[in-house]
């Protein structure tokens, strides 16, 4: 459900676009000449810059119809509009992997993906891995091998690790290290993360 913040209709029933035209755009131009103000009033483009876009996507099997500004990243949409806090914001620049989610089965950095570019896509986050109380095999393996310390990078590590195995890049420790290089762990839990992935790969379960 879109929350109130997503509603393009303001509290007074006026559209957001009208509101912006009469406030932001005009306020910014009060020192300008009346001609400019008039031009801005008629300029749909200025209002369009603040416009929200409709967006439909599926997250962890649940369909959502939302409204977002184009500048909202998939990461911020997940955390702030859908309140799925499992996906972490680390660097917010695609360098740490804490925000890793699956889009149509492929692992990506959600901090560098604009939400509007995910129209019609199926997103899986860390919250979508377990089935009820039954943890995903990769989650079980991370617990068994102590594949974390502070835990902040762990959701991203696990989402990445699932794909690492599915892609066929978990055949030995060196290959795992290479194909997990997009996930940084500042606690240094790497050896245990590699062990967890090796176990899941050897287990041969369908992921």
């Amino acid at each position: 459900m879109p929350n109130q913040d997503n509603n393009p209709q303001g509290p007074a029933g006026k559209s957001r676009r009208d509101f912006l035209k009469k406030s932001t755009a005009l306020a910014a131009l009060t020192i300008a000449s009346p001609v400019l103000v008039k031009a801005a009033e008629n300029d749909e483009k200025i209002a369009a810059l603040f416009e929200q876009m409709p967006l439909r996507l599926e997250v962890n099997g649940v369909a959502h119809t939302l409204s977002v500004e184009p500048r909202v990243t998939l990461l911020d949409l997940l955390r702030e509009q859908l309140h799925l806090m499992g996906t972490k914001k680390g660097c917010d620049h695609g360098q740490c992997g804490a925000c890793t989610v699956h889009v149509d089965g492929k692992r990506i950095n959600s901090c560098l993906s604009l939400a509007v570019m995910n129209e019609g896509k199926k997103i899986t986050t860390i919250e979508g891995l377990a089935i009820g109380d039954k943890l995903h095999p990769m989650q079980e393996a991370f617990i068994k091998h102590d594949g974390f310390q502070c835990g902040y990078c762990t959701p991203g590590q696990i989402m990445s690790a699932v794909c690492c195995v599915k892609e066929g890049h978990a055949n030995n420790a060196d290959e795992i290290r290479e194909y997990m290089s997009g996930n940084i762990c500042r606690c240094g839990a790497y050896p245990n993360i590699v062990d967890a992935i090796i176990e899941v790969k050897k287990g041969g379960q369908s992921l």
């Binding site: 810059l49 416009e51 876009m53 604009l114 509007v116 129209e119 997990m180 290089s181 997009g182 996930n183």
Partner: protein
């Protein structure tokens, strides 16, 4: 991030038309570099034109070579069976770049369009002629450990960060482009520019033009290697990289292609060294002589002096590794 208008396009014509209409618009495909640059305030387009709906994902091969659609993902190209068997240099270069997550987002066209990772370009409080022409170059007498040693100008000493592009430069690829005046093709080595007096221009695309694909001609290189030297074992930009493609029969080099990354404002093709290698025996002596030749004309800036020694070693090693391939 400053907000912007966003439209989706589904044909090359619609995308090009939209770009021509809006001066400060940009195409977006994977967005792995552009979104980052927008967050940092390095670029603030009024409008993003999403081109992901364009039919430019196909990879098609025939006897003449292979055509890779501009929207093919870096990971898809690296894992493509024909690329892996017939153009392994490209697969190796792609896999040396970025991380698995980024390769799942980044497209081939986007990889070519990525901007330099020079820290002065990224820091909007610093002077940078590429970001803001006329503001000066912070790197020239500043932090320039990662910077260029070939083809530099006093305006800009940044390097092009791509690995993929180094392999494509070596493999004589060409770039397919659509624009308001129709379609055209240019050699890959003519796509990117040296910084010169206009460091703000990374490439030779004209107004409204869109990359639609990359063509690599079929080749007979039986020994190739992509060597990348960086500060950590994976997921870091190159200090120096080398793409080497050799056609060896018996012990004689019949044909050689060589390009370097991390050393210039564009993938640095070494045609004179290629000529030198042709007809020579594939041995250490040849490779060392080639490496010395490769570094002729290098110009360093203090912190990146090491790149000459590293570059020599890298060229020797890449050629040796290539020659040893079965």
């Amino acid at each position: 991030m400053i907000n912007f208008d966003y439209i989706r396009t589904f044909t090359t014509k619609a995308a090009v038309d939209a770009k021509v209409k809006s001066a400060s618009s940009q195409f977006i495909a994977g967005g792995t570099n552009l979104v980052d640059l927008m967050k940092k305030g390095v670029t603030s387009p009024d409008k993003l034109i999403d081109i992901n709906g364009l039919p430019l994902k196909q990879i098609t091969a025939d006897a003449k070579g292979i055509l890779i659609g501009a929207l093919a993902l870096n990971s898809e190209v690296a894992e493509n069976a024909i690329i892996k068997t017939k153009y392994p240099l490209l697969a190796a270069a792609l896999n040396a770049g970025a991380s698995p997550q980024l390769r799942n987002m980044a497209t081939v066209g986007g990889n070519m369009m990525q901007r330099t990772r020079c820290s002065y370009f990224y820091d909007i409080t610093m002077p940078c002629n590429k970001r803001e022409p006329g503001s000066g170059c912070g790197a020239l007498q500043g932090q320039n450990r990662m910077h260029a040693i070939f083809g530099t100008s006093e305006k800009c000493i940044a390097v092009h960060p791509s690995d993929m592009c180094v392999a494509l430069a070596a493999l004589d690829a060409s770039v397919h482009i659509s624009g308001p005046k129709g379609d055209r093709k240019i050699l890959f080595t003519d796509f990117h520019r040296l910084s010169g007096d206009t460091p703000e221009l990374d490439n030779n695309l004209q107004k409204g033009e869109l990359i639609t694909g990359i063509h690599i001609p079929a080749n007979a290189f039986n020994k190739t290697h992509y060597l990348k030297i960086r500060d950590r074992a994976s997921y870091a930009f190159a200090l120096v990289s080398v793409a080497a493609a050799l056609e060896i029969s018996g012990n004689t080099i019949n044909n050689a292609k060589l390009a370097m990354g991390g050393v210039a404002h564009k993938p640095w093709r070494l045609t004179a060294v290629e000529k030198f290698l042709t007809g020579k025996p594939a041995n250490k002596e040849t490779f060392t002589a080639a490496a010395n030749m490769a570094m002729e004309g290098a110009n360093t800036f203090g912190q990146n002096n090491f790149k000459i020694k590293m570059g020599k070693a890298a060229v020797t090693e890449a050629l040796q590794q290539a020659a040893q391939k079965i």
